[in-house]
Symmetry: C2
């Protein structure tokens, strides 16, 4: 009956016990003892007792009063993609240490869902946003900017919006990869990408075409519709390879396209790199372990995470007056990690044997 309900300790309990006011306790707890001229003696007493009973202010009440939630909303394309998962994880780590929590969701590149998530974050009063923008969410992002909520985009950006962002120089990456393939003696290098027109994808394509253009070679590009239907994508790649037998090297513009590509190549019983060389944009566990190991254009994941979180936390700490400060826009470099899949075996001989194989 007289169930003794162990109530959470409140700031009022602290104040009552110490026979001071609520305000005093709160001020001490928020480090404003000095500026509010609370005597050291009282401050010490408060701290000691708070510590003793392990009182923690109610976060929700605090948020309601201050308008700060200490939560950052993170919107990525697909959290199960190792690239995003790793960046997210690093961001979470950093943020955690500085007292911020991350709440993350995937858009699956669906603008509808992206919009939903953004409004949900807004409703939840997140203090800041980290966004991998899918197409068609300019309006929502504009709204966020208008409210001056700190925001950083990464992986890609929205060309018409003056936002902070951290991106990777994909053009340079694919340019370098293409030259590498040509230097290895592959002469028919094709590029497989998605039908997305997002900035990062266009850049990757540009690097490839630029490299070929410099050699006065014609590009061979296949744009695939991104779809949930794995089999469809694999079949498309198979079809592309069969329709263009002259291709002797492939660059895939994302890690998951590469994985489908490897499957397609395996099904066609083609061999890497003898029948076709392969380079993937963006690394993956699989590529290190695959036989042969797959050459990749690696993105500086750690650096991306660090830059994103630094910019965001900086803005959270120093709320910049409206438009006085320009957005920070950072471009990071890729690294070509050469593995067996793009190395021509034993020079000329191999070429001969390869021709034999084909006949």
């Amino acid at each position: 009956m007289s169930e003794k309900v162990k109530k959470r300790t409140l700031i009022l309990d602290i104040a009552n016990h110490l026979e001071v006011s609520i305000a005093t306790v709160s001020l001490v707890l928020n480090g404003k003892a000095k500026q509010s001229r609370i005597s050291d003696a009282v401050a010490q007493r408060v701290l000691a007792y708070v510590n003793e009973v392990g009182y923690k202010p109610n976060h929700i009440a605090k948020s309601l009063r201050t308008g700060k939630t200490h939560v950052i909303g993170l919107v990525v394309e697909d959290i199960s993609n190792p690239f995003f998962a790793t960046v997210a994880w690093m961001i979470e780590r950093q943020a955690f240490e500085r007292g911020y929590r991350i709440i993350y969701c995937s858009t699956d590149n669906n603008p509808e869902k992206a919009r939903e998530l953004l409004t949900m974050f807004h409703e939840r009063h997140v203090d800041g946003y980290i966004i991998v923008p899918s197409e068609g969410i300019e309006e929502e992002v504009t709204n966020i900017l208008r409210e001056h909520t700190p925001t950083v985009l990464f992986d890609r950006f929205l060309p018409n919006l003056p936002t902070n962002y951290v991106i990777v120089d994909g053009a340079q990456g694919t340019y370098q990869a293409t030259l590498h393939l040509l230097a290895q003696g592959f002469s028919r290098v094709a590029f497989v990408t998605t039908d997305s027109v997002q900035t990062q994808m266009e850049a990757r394509l540009d690097g490839y075409t630029k490299a070929l253009a410099e050699q006065a070679m014609a590009p061979k590009v296949r744009r695939l519709a991104v779809t949930k239907d794995t089999e469809k994508v694999i079949a498309d790649i198979q079809e592309f390879l069969q329709a263009n037998p002259e291709i002797d090297a492939l660059i895939f513009s994302t890690n998951y396209l590469s994985i489908y590509g490897l499957e397609a190549i395996a099904r066609l019983k083609m061999r890497i790199p003898d029948d076709v060389a392969v380079i993937s944009y963006d690394d993956h566990d699989l590529f290190r372990l695959y036989t042969p190991a797959i050459t990749v254009i690696a993105q500086p994941i750690e650096s991306i995470a660090r830059n994103v979180i630094d910019i965001l936390l900086d803005e959270l700490k120093h709320p910049h007056a409206k438009d006085t400060s320009l957005p920070q826009q950072i471009l990071l470099q890729t690294e070509l990690v050469v593995r067996q899949s793009s190395i021509r075996k034993k020079a000329k001989t191999t070429v001969v044997r390869k021709k034999t194989l084909h006949s």
Copy 2:
């Protein structure tokens, strides 16, 4: 100067505009119009206007008042592990549809961190917990149970605590896998696992030893210290294989151990399954695509997620009186997905060739 600050609409604004009380608006919005005998006419007016101006109640104020945050805390071992990532993602999806948000963090199997996360979730007033318990957090979980916050464990459980949980019959899985290897003619089957004594790991080991015991065969087990140092783990496996050349088949107790194992096997220039057959507990993209494809004991990921979220949401909806209801404890079955890595090629002949290779 007279910067027009667009204030968020409040329930008070709605009430003023419609010339009704705040209470009326709130009751209508919370579907309590009928039971509070608000006339349909008024209810309609409220709804219409709320819709028109797109008013959304302030979540934080709501939480403060009701004590409900509609947030579920999800603690996994490692969110970058595809198994956990996939389960998390499915749970998130389901929860989202039913109005709950997930906030997740990884413990990296570090009890210290697990405790930190749990108290953080507690401070944030999550409505429910989903936990992959690492060792040594019985006390924290007990605290949670005492407060009657709905909680579900998965992947493993805490034997002494009467909690809900959803686990997989790992013993059955490894038992079946071992028999499969024996049936294929492999006679020296070893088992590589971690030094963890968590329930799920012990079960997997038990299945293996039981299968061998039934054949009156001696088990060969290697327990590896789980460490961040990838190279160390790979080296350990190499060493194990070299020290025990008679081994002709390996079962790894987790997907990441298998990945290290594949690397070790590759470095020793051993061939799968000719020199050693391989089965992994838990599937991974890599295993489908690896050459040869790796046989796995697959966990019913979708079913795990569904059961977890169903149990949790059910408890959230019907707050069970203290201890009237027994915890729900669910055991799901694995599926052996046979791929090339555990299939003996061309019967006897292969054995002979293998011996030659070894000499």
